[in-house]
Symmetry: D2
Subunit: 304 residues, 4 copies
């Protein structure tokens, strides 16, 4: 078992740390908030009042922070200056499970590489409920042997691991996936809305499309109208699920990548702007399938 520093004990980081403890690891956690620190201790972890303290004895450092800015800051200004080389054993393994922009992810990995420190990016999908249940999916970028070393640790917190490629590839894969998911959701809403306007029963149309060439994850697993799937947030007034603000964040990461690479992503950009409208009309904390109401403000779905 390893000594693992977990930096960032938010709604994702805290339950992930819990699964590491359950798996027998020694977990030293750190967060700017007091409440999760107490929760970590209650779960059998060690709450550290500084990042330095948390990482001092760590064999693995796991960061789970809101954006590239925070990850870069904690690595560049706090951890890396500590120069935690370990001559008689393997070096500290850095795992960044935050969802951040590809460019920052690659810069950080390159900096780590200059010191010979292994680093992988391993953003997750599955959300808060997946973090709590230990069923996350990891999309991982980095060298194969580093990924191999990280695998048992990651699998203590999740069910699936995709090795997408070299440094930053995990971020890139998640971002591409989520940009497409945003498009699938808005497109599914448009089709159901247009069908409704033409007199089709949403349940009938959804059933047909699921069996036809319009089949997609948003329609099948996470439909934007109540009554189409038992587990969909649409049945609970769009509470829980994957909230609009996080989808907007991911669509912004996708656009940042499109800017960097000069790619044309017309539907992805439009989806980003529609989510910006939806966010600004007050839906930030609702599941992202609630964008149905942006298209169909008079619908029953619009008033959860």
């Amino acid at each position: 078992m390893s000594t693992i520093a977990v930096i960032g004990l938010g709604q994702m980081g805290l339950p992930m740390a819990g699964h590491l403890i359950e798996a027998g690891h020694r977990v030293c956690g750190c967060d700017v908030q007091e409440a999760p620190m107490q929760a970590l201790q209650a779960a059998g972890g060690i709450a550290c009042t500084s990042v330095q303290e948390a990482v001092a004895a760590a064999e693995v450092v796991l960061t789970m922070l809101p954006s590239g800015r925070e990850v870069a800051q904690v690595l560049r200004q706090v951890i890396w200056p500590m120069k935690m080389d370990k001559t008689d054993q393997q070096p500290v393994l850095y795992i960044d499970s935050s969802t951040i922009d590809v460019a920052t992810s690659r810069s950080l990995a390159a900096e780590a590489a200059t010191h010979g420190w292994p680093m992988i990016d391993a953003p997750v999908s599955g959300g808060i409920s997946g973090a709590q249940a230990g069923t996350l999916t990891f999309m991982v970028g980095g060298e194969a042997d580093h990924v191999a070393r990280a695998r048992p640790i990651l699998m203590a917190m999740g069910k699936r691991l995709f090795h997408a490629g070299g440094a930053g590839a995990g971020q890139a894969a998640k971002m591409c996936n989520n940009m497409l998911l945003g498009i699938l959701m808005v497109g599914t809403c448009e089709a159901l809305h247009l069908g409704e306007a033409l007199g089709l029963e949403p349940a009938t149309l959804a059933a047909i499309m699921k069996e036809s060439s319009a089949d997609n994850w948003a329609l099948r697993v996470h439909p934007p109208l109540p009554g189409l799937s038992e587990t969909a947030p649409a049945n609970q007034g769009y509470q829980g699920g994957f909230v609009t603000r996080l989808m907007f964040k991911d669509l912004n990461l996708a656009f940042a990548a499109a800017l960097e690479s000069e790619c044309a992503t017309p539907l992805g950009s439009l989806a980003r702007n529609l989510y910006a409208l939806h966010l600004q009309h007050g839906a930030g904390a609702l599941d992202f399938s609630s964008i149905y109401a942006l298209l169909a403000p008079g619908s029953s779905a619009a008033e959860p």
Copy 2:
């Protein structure tokens, strides 16, 4: 077995008529072209030189024409004036399997209803290969007893039948499905293209997304790049499949429906305009997945 008039013996109508003949029906066909008339006769059907002749003894009339204009013309100007009431037996059943706009489909069904003539709309998906193999899917609108009467006839030509609702619902369902399919395809192209620009292997990214929340029919069954699915037209230089011109037609039908119903369909409209660009740059006869090349003109996929 029935006497069935088939009006329109194009690339879809001719093989469909063939399956009806195989199923034991007496098929009287009619087309403006000479070649398919000869092919019909060779297959055991009766080639009629006029629509009047074809429908004269028909118990069922099946239309398979390019657009609402032709269907309306042949029904209103030729067939309905014949007043083919049959007092001592059930009335002629009209099946329109053309893909046409919902508004025209509903107008025609309403006119038929004023005469007491049963009519259903039953557009198909599955394309030319589905018509040849007899594996079409029918999306059907109309009254339940008319649909029940049509079912064995349709199932002679296809494998699946969805009853979407009342008159026009078959057209509406197909149109909604195909609008969403158009969006799925462009979105999938954007995600793969962005991933490629970021250094991801398309096969790796596609494999990850198929197992994740970006999963959709276009990615899984009909991917826009070679090497991702054995049966995809991308492997054959985008030959065959569902051609750009037909996808553009369906996206236009979707927009016509959005106009009529005052619905907002931002992604559907943008997909329609991107397909307009793709068409105008010469891709009308290529499979619709070739739109990858519009986004990525320098890619290997761009030069089939």
Copy 3:
């Protein structure tokens, strides 16, 4: 002076009829509403209880109706069957000043031409206030000699006349103009909104752009924020002006034309969909510049 039938005495038709009366013409008007009929009589016109009565003695027939459906109905079902040929004088001149789709306009002109009846399309811009003040602009399609004959009549109601080309060209020109206007307005809102978010004073940014390459009519004459132009509806809580519902109508006509002609109009289509959202969120009766609030719901402009 002429005897002129005015069919349609709505908010546009009634004041237009008034200017014709002032100019000395004998005006026979007809409307489905009672109030404008009385207003016409009070203004010195002749209120007729049927279209037949209104046009019976007319030398000129002016239609001012909500859409192509109504214009086609009144011409095809009522007026043209009357066969108002006049052998010893010039034939009746048909002027359609309604804003309708190009396809219907051309069909009607073609039907008129088969009878030798002169017909022009002459949609207007300038709105209700322009109709009241007699300062409308006419965009006219038709043969030059018919336009010449219509000119003095039109100039009694307006200040400017553009001859755009043959039949339907007036409708086409107005529709292209208004599609572009819709784009200019949304684009101007986006630029001002982005500038505001970056800390620029809207008045300063507007002043700079008016003197630079972003200058356009929406910014200069009809800006979407209060305080930028004295006469803009934004100063009066977006009351009056050119209402969202009418802009949406024109953007729909543009899309119908794009469908017919298979043109790509990506920005025009997106503007249409954004106006659909704005309409559905309750802004149909507000000036179309109020779409600023769709983009910036938290802004002061959002709560008139």
Copy 4:
């Protein structure tokens, strides 16, 4: 007269330096290319082989570089470490006339302010021809007294100066203006293209729209089709003018700003993506009005 360091002697910087020399200033220039250094010397300037040398005696430092990356690099790594405080006279004035992102511009101004060094951002419009003719427009951000000090220097190179607000406001104003310009151009192309498809003469439609509510700078001054304005690049096969690559750069800056500020800019984003397509199809070096050919590939305008 002042000693002015000009860092960056490209197609813009070199002629701008020339006007400063003509106005009597002592100009010390520096560039990574040899040719413009010789040209500067020939024009009476002093070619310096390093940035340090160029700025050593400068009272004013003018940067004219391709992007924020270069400006940040030369300021942070070379110039500011020189600590060019001048105790017995006024401090060095920094003028950045590069077109860069607002965020970088504000960061640099904030850093300068911590040292008490005056800095303004002063991006230009007018292009290469404006730089050569000395007719540039400057959009300026910074404190009023710094702008006042810079004014005579800037006016030696241009004709107009807008003070848009505090630090970064010049960049923000230019970026908003150019995002809107990009929208105006694509919208104007769509309207002219749709009109052409409907049979309107482009010259006629353009003349009508210029006098109507669709009037805008792109239509009036820089129309995308030949024959509409004598000075438009469309008349010279889209050579010269404001090239697609630079418009794409500015639309990317606008999107970067929208990302930072979480603004919705749906038309601006779509215009950015259309220019990405146009660029990738090989039009980077053509005037940005050539995007007409993306929409209308079969048109005469498409084959310059």
